[in-house]
Symmetry: C2
Subunit: 168 residues, 2 copies
């Protein structure tokens, strides 16, 4: 089960991390669904001649992992994503293991808005992406049974998602 | 062939648009590759009870179309994506047809940086996403033969990508 948190259930400094190894398949599917076929992502012969020397992941693919934490955990279900600032600081290569961290930076209860610091680092601890998210938290706690546990583990006994809370 | 433009080949107001219908498959693949399994995207029974009444696309999926224009056309190959600001203004539903527009807003030749206004509208002309991108343009024109023409049409006679220009 994943639970959406109201603004009253969060405090500044609360943080969630999620780690994922970027595969070639991720990049090719991202290229397919977005249409971003820039050769820096898809053409190894071309990429060898670039400053990065090999294919790199789309920056927006890495940014998608921020969305995963916001949507799954902090605040989680019931969240409305209002905005995101992104700075792409370093390339992410096929096989890199990226840890995204989302941390509550500011609570604005009068408008039910939360600002969160969002960073992604690679397996060497190098910052590859930084920025911040602005979201509206669920007004009431939202509990959702999901086939996928946090960080992608499957809950085989729970094949269907089911809402047991409320969203307003 | 797609061509990357140097900063000298762009002027303020230059714009490129790309239109795509969002499918259920796009959303499910995006959920799979990012791990964002928020039920607002994947659970129709849950979504019916939300303010949006049905499943919505991930905001970061729509944002990926901005990356497609930057990477394919404006500036195109050789571009280095430095940053992006995003404001998610309205939901995008399965079957919606989104037009993303990227327009040159500021040229900073001393640093070889370009700021671009980025907007996404749906089939009713409603703004669903706005923001701006910051990129480094290729220092020299980059020509790349690609299997995919702009906007996703296949160039069947050119199965392999091939660099014929240079990137520095």
């Amino acid at each position: 089960m994943i639970t959406g948190k109201t603004i009253n259930e969060m405090k500044i400094g609360d943080a969630v991390e999620f780690t994922k190894t970027i595969t070639e398949a991720d990049i090719y599917m991202f290229a397919g669904i977005t249409g971003d076929v820039n050769p820096a992502h898809l053409n190894e012969a071309y990429a060898k001649k670039t400053p990065f020397k090999k294919r790199i992941a789309h920056g927006m693919l890495t940014a998608g992992y921020i969305s995963a934490i916001l949507g799954n955990q902090l605040p989680g279900p019931g969240t409305i994503y209002l905005g995101q600032e992104l700075k792409f600081l370093a390339p992410v290569f096929i096989g890199d293991t990226v840890t995204v961290r989302v941390e509550v930076a500011e609570l604005m209860p009068e408008k039910n808005r939360v600002r969160l610091k969002t960073t992604c680092t690679n397996q060497d601890g190098k910052l590859v992406l930084t920025g911040e998210a602005l979201v509206m938290a669920p007004k009431q706690p939202v509990n959702v049974v999901t086939p996928m546990k946090v960080a992608g583990n499957y809950e085989a006994s729970l094949p269907a998602q089911r809402e047991v809370g409320a969203q307003s």
